[in-house]
């Protein structure tokens, strides 16, 4: 399987990364190189194997569904590129 420039553009759009047309051929070559190398996983017989989602070899703990933190909007907003009062601000999205 080989990715065409159009597919790369679609993936970049899903990933919300701007890609210039001029970058597409080199990017396609790199991604196809990586995906080609990954193809060797098809040699492995995985019949009946349960997927392993993580390395934690213990059951995850449950905790009370309660608020344990918060109440400091200035700390939360301290790194915001732009703020309006106690809100994050973005360019207008509704006309």
């Amino acid at each position: 399987m080989s990715l065409e420039p159009a597919s790369i553009r679609r993936i970049a759009s899903l990933a919300r990364i701007h890609v210039e047309d001029a970058e597409l051929p080199a990017l396609a070559a790199e991604l196809n190189g990586i995906l080609g190398w990954i193809e060797q996983l098809n040699e492995v017989n995985v019949d009946g194997i349960e997927p392993l989602t993580g390395a934690a070899q213990m059951a995850l703990k449950m905790r009370e569904d309660v608020v344990t933190d918060g109440g400091y909007p200035d700390k939360v907003l301290a790194n915001a590129p732009e703020r309006a009062g106690d809100f994050f601000a973005v360019p207008k999205v509704v006309e």
Binding site: R16, I17, E30, G54, N79
Partner: protein, 493 residues
């Protein structure tokens, strides 16, 4: 006495005996950083004033006869660990002005135990790399040089390259790192120091900038196994803020370094013998096994049949998790923002400008393998292969107490090498990636030099939550190797 040459264990005793002050110890390291960081670029941010204030607080405590495990010990903190009030970049332009309002749990544990933070160590961007060449803050120079071709600037390995270089060159007594595919052990091997990746869940990930959450393992660097043991004991422990944090007691790892390996069964994974591996590495491996035999261990061959599939599986799982974790960098709540025609264009231009080439590449791979129609073929298959890799280890550990293998397939390479083909760079992690996928602990110790005078490491891989055996075997290798070679670039005061 050269203060920067002391181990953590000796410095701890010297501070308690009042042979020198914490301020003197920190000043010696800050002077070393001032002298050598322009050449090594091991630190992105140096926090000298804070460090001296912490050292003074340590001296006040010591004068009262109060000491914690790390009182007055100066450390470097990988710039992936959030530090309250101190810029934390993750090696990326997108976090170039990010100042966390909180401290990571591991960092807070170290501060609780009296450590002094010298500054933030350079690293591959978002911990994605094996050479520190992907940092937005410039490459790090390895303090070691080739005997022939001493002009070539070598990489310190990655992703925790700044941490390893700082400890090797004696700019810090120890450092924190993270290991997702080999990012503690490979730079430890390249820089001739000890690096320990504990069991997944042993050290909290809370406040560590996420790369691949099911694979990220915080851990220590130091110049001896004993020093790593001292650091790990402080860093580890249960944290309710990380749901994967293990609620288990933290043993005395320092005591484990003095345990005998007599009667232990050491496994030699036959699949860790790969084409193109430097000849001296095979020789050193055999030497390491002979040392353990001499110390009374029994050495047996074992098979980990899915080893060769670990890296391809890793390069599905890690990018998939990264594409999800890095979705938060959108130019809205924190970090860089680039203007756009509309909100979507703002996202896309912020991420194109804020992320470097390797990070963009991995986000795209991750997005692709998780996308509709490809999920089963790539991601689900990789997770099943991951289960087989864990099974390989579990079956091996039914017969042996630990595995011993090389840490990396080569010594440190020069800046610019292995850069043309991403897959070539990825292969650096061929011996380290499997333990990350399985979540089992591993330690790398310096065991010898290659023909060019560069350090080579051996790693010990163990059972989940049995770091003590690794410290016992690692310390035994260290004692037998008597590794006392020094990097050419190092502090001398």
């Amino acid at each position: 006495m050269i203060l920067t040459d002391l181990t953590i264990a000796r410095a701890r005793n010297g501070l308690r005996a009042r042979d020198f002050t914490a301020r003197e110890l920190t000043e010696a390291h800050l002077a070393a950083i001032a002298a050598l960081n322009p050449r090594l670029n091991a630190f992105i941010t140096v926090t000298g004033e804070r460090a001296l204030a912490q050292a003074d607080a340590a001296d006040t405590a010591l004068a009262r006869g109060e000491f914690a495990p790390l009182t007055g010990i100066p450390l470097a903190i990988k710039d992936l660990f959030c530090t309250e009030g101190v810029r934390t970049t993750a090696g990326s332009r997108i976090l170039g002005s990010f100042v966390p309002p909180y401290e990571s749990t591991v960092g807070a544990n170290l501060l609780r135990d009296g450590a002094v933070f010298l500054g933030k160590a350079n690293m591959d961007e978002f911990a994605m790399g094996s050479s520190n060449m992907t940092s937005a803050y410039g490459p790090v120079a390895n303090p070691w040089q080739r005997r022939q071709d001493a002009d070539a600037v070598l990489v310190p390995g990655g992703s925790s390259g700044g941490s390893a270089a700082a400890v090797s060159a004696r700019l810090a007594m120890g450092a924190t790192g993270t290991d997702t595919g080999g990012s503690i052990r490979q730079p430890a091997a390249f820089c001739g120091i000890v690096g320990m990746k504990p069991t997944y869940g042993r050290c909290s990930r809370w406040g560590v900038v996420a790369f691949a959450s099911s694979l990220d393992h915080p851990g220590p660097f130091a110049r001896t196994a004993e020093d790593c043991a001292i650091l790990l004991r402080s860093m580890a422990g249960h944290d309710p803020k990380d749901s994967t944090s293990a609620d288990l007691p933290v043993p005395d790892y320092e005591a484990a370094c003095r345990r005998s390996v007599k009667g232990m069964r050491i496994g030699v994974p036959r699949e860790y013998r790969v084409d193109g591996m430097q000849g001296e590495i095979e020789t050193l491996w055999q030497q390491g096994l002979a040392w353990l035999r001499d110390a009374g261990a029994e050495v047996v061959d074992v098979s980990l049949p899915h080893t060769k599939y670990a890296l391809p599986a890793y390069y599905i799982v890690a990018p998939a998790e990264a594409s999800s974790n890095l979705a938060r960098y959108d130019g809205v709540r924190f970090g860089l923002r680039e203007p756009g025609e509309d909100l979507r264009d703002l996202y896309e231009r912020t991420r194109a400008s804020g992320f470097g080439a390797e990070v963009r590449r991995r986000i795209l791979i991750g997005t692709y393998v998780l996308s509709a129609g490809y999920y089963d073929a790539y991601y689900l298959r990789a997770q099943k292969v991951r289960a087989l890799i864990l099974r390989d280890f579990t079956e091996a550990f039914a017969h042996v107490d630990a595995l011993v293998a090389p840490t990396a397939p080569s010594a440190a390479f020069a800046q610019g090498e292995n850069m043309d083909d991403p897959v070539q760079m990825y292969l650096n992690d061929v011996f380290t990636g499997p333990a990350d996928l399985a979540g089992v602990p591993a330690i790398s110790v310096p065991a010898g030099l290659d023909a060019n005078g560069l350090p080579l490491g051996l790693q010990v891989i163990g059972r989940p939550f049995d770091e003590e055996t690794l410290f016992a075997v690692g310390a035994a290798l260290e004692r037998a190797a008597g590794f006392d070679a020094l990097p050419q670039i190092r502090a001398d005061s």
